[in-house]
């Protein structure tokens, strides 16, 4: 069940991003729920598992998008690695952890995407586009992170996302 939910989360995230949230953009951009859930996973389960989950989710998203394949896979892997480093140092019950994961994850991911795009395409104009969207997406992700983290954390401790021992 846990595995199914973990698979369904990126699937449903992409679905909602492409349908519902596409209709309600903030500063012209929609949220990145896949990134939010990968950030939560990394914060709660650590960098190793977070990186693996981030890679699979990112690759799934890349394959769905069909262009720049590997971009999200790498950026989400590295974002999860970075966020996962705080796993043992954080008081995870605090809802601000979720907010921080959403906001910080978005900023880090945007910078990584920019670097990867520059490395992958060599087009410097891409920076303008990414930075222009980063503010709106950070706000959107931060806003959604709070309620989502409450559910995610509870599920990871005593719900469907709890690790079987």
């Amino acid at each position: 069940m846990r595995l199914l939910i973990l698979c369904l989360l990126p699937y449903m995230s992409i679905f909602l991003e492409s349908t519902f949230f596409a209709r309600y953009p903030v500063l012209g951009v929609g949220p990145d729920l896949v990134l939010v859930f990968v950030a939560f996973y990394a914060i709660i389960y650590g960098s190793g598992k977070g990186a693996g989950y981030g890679f699979l989710c990112g690759l799934f998203k890349d394959l769905y998008l069909g262009r720049f394949i590997g971009l999200n896979a790498v950026s989400l892997t590295l974002t999860a690695l970075l966020l996962g480093w705080w796993e043992v140092k954080l008081f995870k019950e605090n809802v601000l952890v979720g907010l921080m994961a959403g906001v910080l994850g978005t900023v880090v991911n945007s910078i990584l995407v920019l670097l990867l795009m520059l490395a992958g395409t060599g087009d410097p104009d891409i920076a303008k586009t990414i930075f222009a969207g980063m503010v709106g997406q950070t706000a959107y992700n931060g806003l959604l992170s709070v309620p989502l983290y409450i559910w995610y954390y509870k599920s990871s401790r005593s719900g469907v996302l709890r690790l079987s021992r």
């Binding site: 799934f60 590997g70 795009m117 395409t121």
Partner: protein, 275 residues
Amino acid sequence: MSFFRNRMFWAGMLLLVLMIGLIRYTATERHDITIAEKMIRDLYTPLQSGVNGFQGLIDRWGRIIGTRQSLVDENQRLRSELNRLQQERQVLLEYRYENDRLREMLDFKRKNTENYRLHPAEVIARSPELWYKTLTIDQGERDGITRNMVAITPQGLVGRVTAVSAHTSEVLLISDRESAVGVLVQQSRTQGLVEGLGDRNTLKMVNIPYDAEVRPGQVVVTSGLSEIFPRGIRVGKITRIITQPNGLLKYAFIQPAVDFDKLEEVFIVFQDLAR
């Protein structure tokens, strides 16, 4: 552990390089997408179609509701505009009819300047009783109106003034039972007396000799033999002639020249200049 970490590091680096290569490879438009991409996109197709259909449905309903609301608003606006225009039209029609009547009266007055001095008056009330046929006009003693002055219209004789107050006068219609007017048939010059029957559509001409040449359709005018009514004013038209049982006299029913129910303005004859 260190070795393991190194292996992971190098594996990660290798993966990173591979991925950058993949990004570069897929940065441009490809001829065809891979099976994995097709499968993932197909996974979303039913959901997205459903959502799009649902959103399309909501949009359509939104448009229908929006359109309906704007139509309701427009309809309401047009209705109130129509009401306003109808009222305006009604007022203008009133002015037009009044203008026609006044023009006709003015014309009549001009034509009869030699015969009568006419004073216009407006009908302001009618007798509420069925058996008492009177009008109240807005001209009274202070305007020079006196009892027994005659009221006429361009169409014909209306009646005579029977009561005068300072600002109003009462006109007894020739259709009243108490009214009697000396008349003659215009074509045959047959004289008689027209009495009211209390019926707004019918007068009765009496004292017609049995051998008088009177026929339906002939016009009856005032004879001028009475003290009150000046001569030559149209009273009505003969509709039916009946011989009395004694065979010596006939009487005729007259259709009044004036429609008493629709009177709004009359002339009061001040002076019979012809007399």
